[in-house]
């Protein structure tokens, strides 16, 4: 531990710091759009662009999507390209993967990723491994998408983050977007990608509006898979998060700012590949690191980030041990008060940051 740098925050309290709001690419004038509509427009645009793209899943067509993400698409594209399936995850996932192997570009929707557990063999063994097993002959251009993670009041079987499950597997690309811009740009990238992509949406965020820049509204707006985004620059501590935990982290950063602490918030966007360079660049600046996620701690995304920090020179940049904030290591209770206590909230992030920075 000899080479750990002295804290850069000795004079923190005396600094004058601006209180900041969330940082968006084009504030104020930007058009607002819900995550749901952003996903919908991504699907619509890609279906128009490439007639091999089709949607398959439960209630995606006539019902307009269980969460209305596919609203209007069946009316526009018809039975051939928006296919309602029976309740049969393993079967329709396999069908979608087979269709991808034969050259189509399926978007396979799960009503929630909890149900994809019934189909996880087809996702990992069939979609994720065939390219390698065939020595590069048969690639599998497919997107598996749907809401992931904890919703509200739906108890243990419907409240789980699968980020770490899929990120574990070579052969898959895994995206966990946060806001509307992420969702549009990354879903389009996922559909265009020639490999299997697991696209983990968040149910709670579907109805939330976020600003969309002019670029993001354009039909050619595609974000790169595997690149994180610095949502909020800061210099005292790095907070790395994905999906809804980005929101938690930004709220915390706001509060920290009022106490003179400028947190840098990194929105991972992709879980595999993980944009470790963005994290290390930030840590080199802040010398403190917290990971925030709603998933469980053991072998989780935060665990992976911290392990990578330990393994690299970034370790020497840390002034304090890096820590994880995660969902509590328990199945999700239905009980309202307990449920609230099971997931990290901004206060948890604020307290952890203050602890690491030794600020009261």
């Amino acid at each position: 531990m000899a080479s750990i740098k002295p804290s850069s925050l000795l004079n923190l309290a005396s600094r004058t710091l601006n209180r900041r709001q969330f940082s968006f690419t084009t504030p104020a004038a930007a058009k607002q759009m819900t995550v749901r509509d952003a996903l919908n427009s991504a699907l619509d645009e890609e279906m128009t662009r490439d007639d091999r793209v089709f949607i398959i899943g439960e209630e995606v067509a006539q019902y307009d999507g269980a969460y209305k993400v596919t609203r209007g698409l069946w009316k526009k594209y018809g039975d051939k390209r928006v296919i309602d399936t029976p309740i049969t995850e393993m079967g329709f996932s396999g069908i979608a993967v087979g269709a991808a192997m034969a050259g189509l570009r399926p978007v396979c929707e799960y009503m929630t990723f909890n149900f994809a557990m019934q189909a996880i063999d087809q996702i990992i063994n069939s979609a994720g491994k065939t390219f390698y097993m065939s020595a590069g002959k048969i690639n599998c251009p497919i997107v598996f998408r749907g809401p992931n993670g904890a919703a509200a009041g739906v108890a243990a079987q419907h409240s789980q983050c699968y980020g770490a499950w899929y990120a574990h597997c070579p052969g898959l690309k895994v995206i966990s977007p946060y806001n509307a811009e992420d969702c549009k740009g990354l879903l389009k990238a996922a559909i265009r990608d020639p490999d299997p992509v697991v696209f983990l949406e968040n149910e709670i965020l579907y109805g939330v509006q976020y600003p969309m820049s002019d670029q993001a509204l354009a039909e050619d707006f595609v974000l790169p898979i595997g690149k994180a985004k610095v949502e909020r620059p800061g210099k005292h501590i790095t907070i790395v998060a994905h999906s809804r935990a980005v929101e938690t982290s930004l709220l915390a950063a706001n509060e920290l700012s009022s106490k003179g602490i400028e947190a840098e918030v990194i929105n991972l966007r992709s879980l595999r590949p993980l944009d470790f360079n963005t994290i290390t660049a930030s840590v080199a600046k802040t010398h403190h690191l917290i990971s925030v996620e709603q998933g469980w701690p053991t072998a989780g995304i935060g665990a992976e980030i911290l392990a990578r920090i330990m393994e690299t020179e970034a370790f020497f940049q840390l002034d304090q041990p890096a820590i994880r904030l995660t969902g509590v290591d328990t199945p999700m209770p239905y009980t309202k008060s307990l449920e609230s206590a099971a997931l990290p909230v901004p206060k948890d992030v604020v307290e952890a940051a203050k602890k690491l920075l030794k600020i009261k």
Binding site: F54, K80, I83, T85, P86, T88, M90, G91, F92, S93, G94, I95, A96, V97, G98, A99, A100, M101, A102, G103, L104, D121, Q122, N125, S126, T130, F131, Y132, M133, S134, A135, G136, K137, I138, N139, C140, P141, P170, G171, K173, D193, P194, D195, I225, G226, P273, R308, E311, T312
Partner: protein
Amino acid sequence: MLPSYARSLGKKALTQKKALGLISNAKNNYATEAAFETKPFRLHNLEQGPGTNVTLTRDDALKFYNQMHTIRRMETSAGNLYKEKIIRGFCHLYSGQEAVAVGIKAALRPHDAVITAYRAHGWSHIMGVPPLGVLAELTGRQSGCARGKGGSMHMYTNNFYGGNGIVGAQVPLGVGLALAAKYKGTDGVAVALYGDGAANQGQVFEVYNMAKLWDLPCIFVCENNGYGMGTSAERAAANTAYYTRGDVIPGIWVDGMDVLAVREAARFAVEHCATGKGPVVMEAATYRYSGHSMSDPGTSYRTRDEIQEVRQTRDPITSFKEKIITANLVTAEELKTIDTEIRSVVDEATKKAKADKEIAMEELTADISSLPLEQYIRNISPFDPLPHKRIGEAVNFK
């Protein structure tokens, strides 16, 4: 089997065929075509099935014999390589089931797709992989059809999608191939093969349902060899009439030891699927001579007598050989010459497959993704990451 050979045809038929110049080649004195009667098919949800009176040309007779015999010879060689510990891990032999692959393939068009389970060597060959491509894949060497990276259960070639090692998982994939054919508007069909063991997997029933619901051109083929590993069909299935298990899907039972019956049933199924009538379930009654895999002597759950009896009375190659010789389509000498040729081809391939090199170490991290987003792949330690290489053609890249 009720053979009705060309020789024993009524005089009228003979005269007619002679008049058409079909029946014999004066110079070599053999028939160019013969008619045979297959065992009756059993039908489910079908008013009319395939005809039991089938004709076979001399060319097809030679081709089917050649194909079945090559598979048998290749599998014998694979068994030996396994015993020599050159083939590792899993090795599931197809010996006894040859007529199923050869008969079905004979009914397929070039744009039809096939997917099967882990007993994939015979099918890989029939779909276009030469013996060296199969045997070198088994020995895990660079001339293997998947460069030795797939092994026994994962072989691929054009329109052949494996080789899936997860029992039953290939069946939904096969229905996906059928969906793609329909989506693209070709009249292509997909053949999804599974054993009597996999027939009990839930996902098989899931996709029966969707295939019929959407009338997808999928031929479900249950290769019923009597045993799912060591569990006999009767001990695993409440209904062992596998051709009826698609519920509303039409089904055909066929003698899977008779290549001509299989071809006839497959022709019927292809026609049914390709004309938009939806899927068909085809059960081919067959038998595997070897154990489930190489670690199974195959004698604890069945008797040696049973195996012997099938070999002596139902063997798909022996019975076909007798048939085509008796029908004067080929001579015993010709077949002997073919046997010698096959032996030399397979022996040569075996030799090469043993002597062949494994792919270079750098291919450990080749073709993980067709569009790799990371230049380097983590090694065992973090210190010396490995570059990701792209080698294969990635047929769906664009």
